[in-house]
């Protein structure tokens, strides 16, 4: 600890270089965290999917509807505990750019199937009592400045050119990666107001499997129940459904990650090189230190500590910046349901920063430790 002033004056020796090295460290770590956040954004759907939930869609295509009467028959399938349904609405709020998922939900059962969305009881009751009621995620409510009681118009949906809803509840997520951008309203209201050919039709069912029952068997039994009917179904786990979309994105995600990793590697190489360079330049000074009685180990620790210091400050700044950046919200304007910095990323970033800081210092530190004083001084 008593060498701290020495450490600082070493760092202060070339202020510009120290600042630049810390800066590039911060940039590299920031980029690393950013890539992690992007990855988490892609993975959100799969991570948030319920492990005990099955999704039932029309066998021909997910855009084809299913009859609302399927619910009772799905409930009869052994192993199914509860089932709910929803329809995709696809209206426009003010401007086509303001896209967010809008679902007409079965208000009696939806909350039971999706316990991760937390709604205050009083607000939920208000939603149940108002046929034109709606529930919005915290994120979307903040984005458009909605408050409880607001009247929200949605136009130009396939169901009709103009619909109005009263915001009765705002939901929060139980987990940090839950999608807070959804907008729900009552399916029975849509059924009443929508065109006749869409009556009695729902977009998809979500069924919860009883504890202990096999997901694959229940899925197979549901599909078998509707085989050869006018509305055949395709049932899969919610996770598989989300993963299939992610897989279709596939190339883009992979590309961004590969590119990012290459860049990160380059940045760290550059930073490490600079740090090693600055130690190499001071060989003679280290020799002086050894002449005046510093032990081998003390010199080693001193040089390593310098690298660790730069790494800590630079890495810390990078993580902090990344945190601030992700708190600022989705930079792509609504593409990711949630954009956040996962805790694992922070840990990994800190680990990488420290490792590079130490590694970059290790080679010159080792040389410094093994330094032959007489020879080094002669170089003066």
């Amino acid at each position: 600890v008593k060498f701290l002033p020495l450490l600082f004056s070493n760092l202060g020796r070339r202020k510009v270089r120290t600042a630049l090295t810390i800066g590039s460290f911060a940039v590299a770590i920031f980029l690393f965290c950013l890539l992690f956040a992007i990855r988490a954004g892609f993975q959100q759907g799969v991570e948030a999917a319920g492990v005990d939930r099955l999704l039932v869609i029309n066998k021909f295509s997910f855009i084809q509807p299913l009859p609302v009467a399927h619910r009772d028959r799905i409930l009869q399938v052994p192993g199914v505990q509860e089932a709910t349904y929803a329809s995709w609405f696809g209206g426009i709020y003010q401007d086509p750019k303001n896209m967010f998922p809008q679902f007409a939900i079965d208000h009696r059962t939806y909350r039971d199937l999706f316990p991760e969305f937390l709604v205050p009881e009083a607000e939920w009751q208000a939603f149940l009592e108002d046929k034109m009621g709606a529930v919005a995620g915290e994120g979307i409510a903040r984005r458009f400045g909605w408050k409880l009681g607001d009247r929200i118009p949605l136009k130009d949906s396939p169901y009709g050119s103009y619909f109005e809803f009263n915001l009765r509840a705002i939901y929060k997520g139980a987990r940090p990666h839950d999608d807070l951008t959804q907008f729900w309203f009552r399916w029975d209201y849509l059924d009443e107001k929508g065109p006749p050919e869409m009556k009695g039709r729902v977009g998809w069912y979500t069924a919860r499997v009883k504890p202990g029952a096999s997901m694959t068997e229940v899925a197979r039994d549901i599909d078998a129940r509707f085989a050869n009917s006018a509305f055949e179904t395709r049932t899969m786990s919610e996770q598989a459904w989300m993963a299939s979309w992610l897989e279709q994105m596939g190339n883009i995600e992979l590309l961004m990650l590969v590119i990012g990793s290459v860049v990160l590697f380059t940045l760290l190489l550059v930073t490490g090189n600079t740090m090693a360079m600055s130690v190499r330049e001071r060989t003679s000074e280290l020799a002086v230190l050894k002449t005046i009685g510093f032990g081998d180990r003390a010199v080693l620790v001193l040089v390593l500590a310098e690298g660790a210091m730069i790494a800590a400050v630079g890495g810390g700044a990078g993580i902090l910046l990344a945190k601030l950046f992700t708190l600022g919200g989705d930079p792509t304007g609504g593409f990711f349901p949630s954009f956040r910095l996962p805790g694992a990323a922070v840990g990994a970033a800190a680990g990488i920063a420290l490792a590079v800081g130490l590694l970059a210092g290790l080679v010159p530190a080792w040389t410094a430790m093994r330094l032959h004083v007489v020879q080094a001084l002669r170089r003066l």
Binding site: G23, P96, S244, M277, T332
Partner: protein
Amino acid sequence: MAIPLIYNLESVRARWRTTVVAVLGIAGTVGVFVAMLALATGFEATLVASGDPENGIVRRKGASSELDSAVTLNQLRALEDASEVARDGKGPLISPEVVVIASLPLRKTGSDASVQVRGVHPRALEVHRGVRVVEGRFLRAGLHEMVVGRNAAGAYSGAELGSEVKLGGTSWSVVGVMDAGGSAFDSELWCDANLLGSAFERPAGVHQSVVLRLATPDGLSALKARMDGDPRLQCQVERETEYYAKASRMMTGFILSLGSIVAVVMGLGAVFAALNTMYSAVAERTREIATLRALGFGGGSVIVSFVLESLLVSLAGGLLGCLAVLPLNGLTTSTLNFQTFSHLSFAFQVTPLLLGLGLSFALFMGLAGGLPPAIRAARLPVTAALRDL
């Protein structure tokens, strides 16, 4: 008086290790920058190529894509009678189309992907002039036949010429492969509109969109005016090229916004690296600079010389980065277009413009990284620096 360039070349060579690191940093940044732009450009070009500037596309008012659109039979009849629509001996050049999404297994992974299926009428090829049948023949109306896009035939298993595709509970035989010039149609399956509509339980006579050839290139505004005046025609018309440009906007916006954030952050890192390299170059060469000054080279010449050196390094990095991404050009990849919920194949496009942008970005980084150290070099007090000898 200018300091000879050979001096800079020699000094770059003398410090080859730090130079290589700086060059790599800039090459990486420029490479990623150009690759991102090439991705977005390729995606957009694929969709835009699907449109024909002389065609209009009619959809339901407010529909976000063809998928959630509907054009009724009455509207179709009114469009067929409209004088703004081009016609030949066989009648109006108009193609009403049914669009659905089906899932087919991808050849590469075996997992299902969403494929756009388009139900068309016999005149479709006359309206979509960019689409040609390159293998087999076009489908016949009233039969369960299918023509597949070039990319779709390659991407999905069981979608090649001569095979049977299960769709909407019926089986369709693939009778032809079409080439749509690298556009979105290359990722589609085409079949008979009426049969597709009934297989997917669509009300008879309702189509998702109507593509029509305009009688005159500027007939679009006249058609818009007619729609505003005719209560039967409660729908919207756009130029086909504009519709497809819009359909690419969400994805390209996404790629570009993420890409530019990454590029800016990386650029910052590369500038830091360049600054460090040049500052240490200046520090190492204090006495050389002082000697140059003593020989009579002015401060301006020193600045020019050092900035040139930095630009040289960054240009090398930029060229390396551009070279590295050049093989991407034409490489076909695919992703999901969120605006149409369907899988789309497209090729990277590394255009000269993008390479130019990449090189400019490199030079900009070189300038930002070289100027401050160059100014410091010029400000070195000659006598003090020489005394260090």
